[in-house]
């Protein structure tokens, strides 16, 4: 039930006109192509844009990484200078003034980035510091991370994570956020060599300033700095992370080598770019959430949608114009055919492309042919009716009947009873075959019988002034023939051939089968005809006959053609003073009831019906 309804709905949607079909097809194809093109373009653009973003981020990070490295190198240089130029060269107790002056020089030269420089001995006691400030009561130096790191790995320099400097009290009530660079040093105090720790505290703000400079975009992209274990050194949302408001996967990222990685963190997909700062092992990490990447392409997306829409608008117009141009001649042709069928306008539209023009011409010519055929059929019908009427008339020719009866009367009066009986019996045979129970098609044998009876009567009437010979192959007896076709021929042979000849007149009736056709000929040795007369015998039906039943050869010819086809009919051959031969050519169709009906119905009645209808249509 549902399916049916669904299909009905689809049927409704199905375009019915050629124009809408063309338009729909064009639109679907063009819009599909455009959509595919749009999607491909968008993907290409967005990939390029992402690559561009990643590349520019990498460049920025490389630059910042270099800046950070420069900064850290300069700090190491300060540490080296303090160690090799100050500590190693001087005795801490003996030359404390020199040491202080040199450290001061170092500090002053780098004070923008430095918080302090300090030297501690292996017990954690302060030996020298710059800038000079009061040490806190008990800073517990040996337990501070930077000190412990320096002692643990004596050969290296150590960068700590950012922390509050817990060493000096400068009276400002402030706390400084520093990164400590500590190393174990060998120092000389009162001539005794001992170990100590050199501490260079870098101002964290120098690093945070560098990082803040690149963390300016507010589109979600950010950069952070962590050490090799993932502990955060700088993060734009440092406090939020430690407060648990947000989080960062720095520990996992710290294990990555330099490069670009795709990561999913906190349900968010993002690109992570890692850049390692040399010597410290710190990782500078750039994070680009995918949302940010796609936000950059949102305008491209709009632009492509806009282009697609504008192109769709144009294509719809173009498609319509094309569809109209293609379909318009077809529609016009269709309309003119419809009008023709409705009988409104007989002109067929001819125009448009060559194919449509050809179609229009074909339709027009076929309509014209139909018209001609129609007229021909009407004409044939009329002729047929006329010939039928003529044939009927010939069956009961009153003149012939009157002559025959008059001859019988004379015979009875002259007591020639045998002759009278013969005459009457011949007349009876003639009429029996004439009637033939209303059949049109009879056997050749019957037709010959009819001809013979006719000739017998005529010969009595003409007192045997001419002779008649029937020379017919008995094989053709059983074939079909239209009735009463020989009689007019014989009548003509008597009237125009042998009448008036003294006993020498001869009429010969022959019959034989030839290549599937039956040829029946009536020949006389009478006066014959000129060529022109021969031509007129079968064409001029308007000729006034001098004698006979009035059933001309034209009529006989027509009847044969109507029933058996155009290729059959009469053939007249004549030579003046030599005689005339009229031949009937018909197909050799064995006489059966079935064949008779086929010939009568197929050719006569079937044709008559359609011809009647055609004639009516034309008249309307």
């Amino acid at each position: 039930m549902f399916k049916n309804r669904h299909f009905k709905h689809l049927e409704k949607l199905k375009p019915k006109g050629i124009q809408s079909t063309i338009m729909a097809a064009f639109s679907v194809i063009s819009i599909s192509i455009m959509l595919i093109l749009g999607v491909v373009l968008y993907m290409r653009f967005s990939t390029m844009s992402r690559e561009e973003t990643v590349q520019s981020t990498r460049k920025l990070m490389e630059q910042t990484g270099e800046n950070l490295e420069d900064y850290l190198v300069s700090m190491r240089q300060i540490s080296d200078a303090a160690y090799y130029n100050v500590i190693k060269e001087n005795d801490l107790s003996a030359q404390d003034q020199d040491i202080q002056a040199k450290m001061n020089l170092l500090y002053e030269a780098n004070r923008d980035n430095l918080q302090s420089i300090a030297i501690y001995n292996d017990y954690g006691s302060l030996l020298a510091a710059e800038p000079v400030a009061a040490q806190k009561e008990d800073p517990d130096v040996t337990n501070q991370d930077w000190y412990k790191q320096a002692v643990e790995e004596m050969e290296n320099m150590h960068f700590s994570t950012p922390h509050i400097q817990n060493l000096f009290d400068d009276g400002t009530h402030r706390y400084y956020w520093v990164i400590s660079l500590s190393r174990m040093v060998e120092l000389t105090d009162n001539g005794v060599s001992q170990m100590g720790v050199l501490l260079v505290d870098m101002d964290y703000s120098a690093i945070s300033r560098m990082m803040n400079q690149i963390n300016t975009s507010n589109n979600g992209q950010y950069y952070y700095l962590c050490d090799s274990s993932g502990e955060i050194i700088y993060h734009p949302r440092q406090i939020q992370i430690s407060d648990g408001i947000t989080s960062e996967d720095s520990e996992a990222v710290a294990e990555y080598k330099d490069g670009v990685y795709d990561r999913v963190f906190g349900g968010e997909q993002r690109k992570v770019i890692v850049n390692t700062i040399s010597y410290t092992g710190w990782k500078l990490v750039g994070v680009i959430p995918y949302d940010t990447l796609s936000a950059g392409t949102i305008n491209i997306r709009y632009f492509i949608i806009l282009i697609i829409l504008l192109m769709a608008m144009m294509l719809v117009i173009i498609n319509r114009v094309v569809a109209v141009r293609i379909s318009s001649p077809i529609l016009k042709l269709n309309d003119s055919v419809k009008e023709y069928e409705a009988g409104e306008k007989p002109e067929i539209y001819i125009g448009g492309s060559s194919e449509i023009r050809h179609l229009g011409l074909s339709i027009q010519s076929s309509y014209e042919q139909i018209d001609t055929l129609m007229k021909k059929i009407v004409l044939e019908q009329n002729e047929r009716r006329k010939s039928e009427f003529d044939a009927l008339q010939s069956q009961i020719n009153p003149h012939f009947l009157y002559n025959a009866l008059e001859s019988i009367t004379w015979m009875v009066e002259g007591e020639r009873n045998d002759e009278a009986v013969f005459m009457i019996s011949q007349l009876a045979k003639l009429f029996r075959i004439s009637l033939s129970r209303g059949r049109t098609v009879i056997t050749i044998k019957d037709e010959l019988q009819h001809a013979q009876s006719y000739m017998n009567i005529q010969m009595i009437r003409y007192k045997n002034t001419f002779s008649v010979i029937f020379d017919v192959d008995p094989e053709v007896y059983s074939y079909c023939i239209v009735k009463l076709v020989l009689q007019p021929l014989l009548e003509n042979a008597i009237n125009y051939g042998v009448e008036g000849m003294d006993d020498s007149g001869e009429i010969r009736v022959t019959g034989r089968e030839e290549n599937g056709a039956v040829i029946l000929s009536v020949s006389d040795n009478g006066f014959g005809m000129s060529e022109e007369q021969v031509r007129l015998v079968l064409t001029d039906s308007t000729r006034i006959r001098k004698h006979g039943s009035g059933v001309g050869l034209v009529n006989v010819n027509n009847r044969i053609k109507i029933l058996f086809g155009k290729e059959y009919g009469l053939k007249v051959e004549s030579e003046p003073d030599e005689g005339t031969t009229v031949s009937i050519r018909i197909p050799a169709i064995p006489y059966t009831e079935e064949n008779r009906k086929i010939i009568e119905e197929g050719q006569v009645f079937g044709k008559e019906d359609s011809q009647d209808k055609g004639a009516q249509e034309t008249q309307r």
Partner: protein
Amino acid sequence: MRKGKKMFIIIEAVLAVMVILVALAMLWERRGRDLDKISVIVRSSDDTQWAAFKYGLRMAAEDQNVEMFVVSTGAELTVKELQHMIESEIDNGADAVIVQPVPGAESEEMLRKMDRKIPVMLVEYAASGSDSSGLSVAAPDNYAMGKALAEELLEDYAGNVEGKTLGILSEDTDSQAALDREQGFRDVAEAAGATVSWAVTDSFSGESSASIETLPKVDCVAALDDASLTAAGERSSSNALNGALVYGIGHSTEAAYYLDTGIVECLIVPDEFNVGYQSLTECVKCLRDILHRMQDATVSHTVIRREDLFTKENQEILFTMSQ
């Protein structure tokens, strides 16, 4: 044919409308949305005690992508002045305001009126003690802080404070915060047998602050807010408190310094960063979602002793104060 033409016109019209919509969306995207603007009005806005609060505001503004502006103010603020300030901020295009209220019913009434125009978020304490104000507050649990302070004091005396005399310092007694803190402190300390000899309210600026030194000697002084604590620390460092031990609530580097130098025994630090962060976040939520009702935000506090001042967690508290 006519049907086809109608269809054609409809398709073209629909496409044209879509083109216009996409073009508008493009323009809108290019122009960008105007940032929401949130103004913050707190007393003595330039004071170091607001460092962590302002840092919290700044971080929240960055996270939420809004514009934040702290109005420059003096130490004293009347209801009229506050109203004037809020109105002028509204005129300047503020979409929401974060206000440290002037205590009192009149102020509450005024703020409620303002809340009808734009969202108003209170910080530190409610305008009056009643809960019916309907205005949301982002503040620490003041009573709990008072209590915690007294508990720390008890701990130092191993719970035995019988007969000990206490002095209480606070900036004001009008605000609900001050009242709650004092109440919390008194509830625990007095229950343990200590006696509050005096409770002084002062702004601790200018001449009037000299009066602290003339007060009777006590065993311990509890400073219930940052201004009182720095004043007490200052007096104690010059031995003006006659050796009284100082306990206090504070959120400035000065307060931490006095703890670091041993002048203050114990410091209770309210999470001012989160007062700022959460108040602004709440305002933004309210601006972006019409259905959102502003919620109260209660932030935590941290008890810091001298010895654990430099633990990792506490260093971060110092970090926010140093901004």
